[in-house]
C-alpha cells in the first residue's frame, strides 16, 4: 500500500491503530461470511448490509464500486479502511461532498445527469414499495433541478453540487458514521502501513 495515492494525495487516516484493529475484526467477519478469502465480494457486501446475499440494490452497488478502487470486483482490507475513513465524523466535508458526487455520477461523466437522478429516484421508490406516476416523478425532478442546476443545463456539475449540499446539509448525513466517532487521533500513513502488515500476517 503506497503512502501516496495515484493523485499524489497522502493516505492520511483519521482512524487510530486500535480502531484499525477493530475494523479488521469487522472486515474478517464480513469477508469470511461466504468465501473465506480475506476479501469482500459483492454477495458478502450485500449480506452485511441487508442480511441477505441476494438483495440487489443500485445504491449498494455504487458504494461497492467506490470502495473497489482497483476495480477487481472485491474489496480488500486497505480499500475497506480507506473508504470508511471518508465516513469518519472528522474527515473533511469537502471529501465527503466529493464522494457523494461520485456516488451519484453513476456513469462517471463528471456530471449528475437528470436521467441518473431519475433512475435513482425510481430505485428508491421500488425499494420502498411506493409507486408514483412518471408525471409525478418528473415534477419531483423539475423541482430538484430548479434548485440544484443553477445554469439550467439539465445536469448538476461539481460546483453546483457543492452549493446545493451547502444549502441542504442533511444530504450529507449518509456520509458520516457515528460508530467511528470516538476516534480522535490522526494516524500517519507510514505507521498505518507497518501496523497493517503486522495485523494481516
Amino acid at each position: 500500500m503506497d503512502p501516496v495515492d495515484s493523485r499524489g494525495k497522502s493516505n492520511n487516516l483519521t482512524i487510530s491503530v486500535s480502531e484499525v484493529e477493530a475494523l479488521f475484526e469487522l472486515f474478517k467477519s464480513i469477508s469470511g461470511s461466504v468465501i473465506d478469502d480475506g476479501l469482500i465480494n459483492k454477495e458478502e457486501f450485500q449480506l452485511a448490509l441487508f442480511k441477505n446475499t441476494r438483495k440487489e440494490n443500485l445504491f449498494a452497488n455504487r458504494i461497492f464500486d467506490l470502495f473497489d478502487v482497483k476495480k477487481r470486483g472485491v474489496i480488500d482490507f486497505g480499500d475497506f479502511v480507506r473508504a470508511l475513513n471518508v465516513f469518519h465524523p472528522n474527515f473533511p466535508v469537502e471529501e465527503k461532498i466529493d464522494f457523494s458526487f461520485k456516488l451519484y455520477d453513476m456513469d462517471g461523466t463528471g456530471f449528475i445527469e437528470r436521467k441518473e437522478v431519475k433512475q435513482m429516484l425510481i430505485a428508491l421508490l421500488g425499494e420502498s414499495e411506493m409507486r408514483l406516476s412518471d408525471e409525478i416523478v418528473e415534477t419531483i425532478l423539475d423541482k430538484t433541478f430548479s434548485d440544484a442546476d443553477t445554469n439550467q443545463d439539465g445536469k448538476i456539475d461539481r460546483t453546483e453540487w457543492e452549493n446545493f449540499v451547502s444549502r441542504n446539509p442533511s444530504l450529507l448525513k449518509i456520509m458520516t458514521l457515528s460508530y467511528l466517532k470516538d476516534i480522535t487521533t490522526t494516524f500517519p500513513s507510514f505507521v498505518f502501513h507497518s501496523e497493517v502488515d503486522d495485523i494481516v500476517t
Binding site: 440494490n57 445504491f59 455504487r62 458504494i63 437522478v117 425499494e127 411506493m130 449518509i174 457515528s178
Partner: protein, 152 residues
C-alpha cells in the same frame, strides 16, 4: 399524551427533493455494516398518502391511541410509545410527514427504541389500520385502489 399540537409558523410539512428521498435507501445506510446481529427486519418504513397533511396526522394519532400507545406531536412529527403486546418491553416509533410533490405526502416511520420484531409487528398492524389514508397505486396505468380490494 399531548392534547395541544404545537405548530411553528411554517405552512406545512417539509418538502423533500429527489436527493432527500434517495438517501433514505437502505443501500446507503452503511451503519448496518457495524450491526452484526443476525435478526432480519426493517427499522424504517414509509408510505404515500394523498390526504391532506392534517388528516394524515390526526388519523395516525387516533389509530396509535386506539392501539394503546401514547402520542406526542410537534409540527408534522409524531412520537408513538408504549409497551409491547405482552407488556414485557417498551417500543418507541418516530413518524414524520413530508411533502414529496404538490398534495402528495410521504410518511416515514422509524424505530427509535425497542425490539426489531416488535417494531415490525407494530408497523404491520398499524399500517393495516391506516388503510384509508395510505395511497397504493396499482401497476396498471396509475389507477388508484385501496388495499381493501385485494382481499377477495
Amino acid at each position: 399524551e399531548d392534547n395541544q399540537h404545537t405548530f411553528d409558523d411554517e405552512a406545512g410539512p417539509l418538502t423533500l427533493n429527489a436527493f432527500d428521498l434517495i438517501i433514505l435507501s437502505q443501500g446507503l445506510n452503511l451503519s448496518a455494516l457495524f450491526d452484526r446481529r443476525q435478526d432480519y427486519g426493517k427499522l424504517q418504513n414509509r408510505f404515500l398518502s394523498r390526504k391532506p397533511a392534517n388528516v394524515i396526522l390526526s388519523s395516525m394519532e387516533v389509530v396509535a391511541q386506539s392501539m394503546g400507545f401514547k402520542t406526542h406531536i410537534r409540527n408534522y412529527k409524531m412520537r408513538v410509545e408504549g409497551p409491547n403486546a405482552n407488556k414485557t418491553s417498551h417500543l418507541t416509533i418516530m413518524l414524520q410527514i413530508f411533502e414529496v410533490a404538490p398534495s402528495i405526502f410521504m410518511v416515514e416511520l422509524e424505530r427509535s427504541a425497542g425490539d426489531t420484531s416488535e417494531y415490525n409487528k407494530f408497523v404491520n398492524n398499524y399500517c393495516s389500520k391506516l388503510d384509508d389514508i395510505i395511497w397504493k397505486v396499482s401497476a396498471e396505468k396509475g389507477k388508484s385502489r385501496t388495499s381493501r380490494l385485494s382481499k377477495r
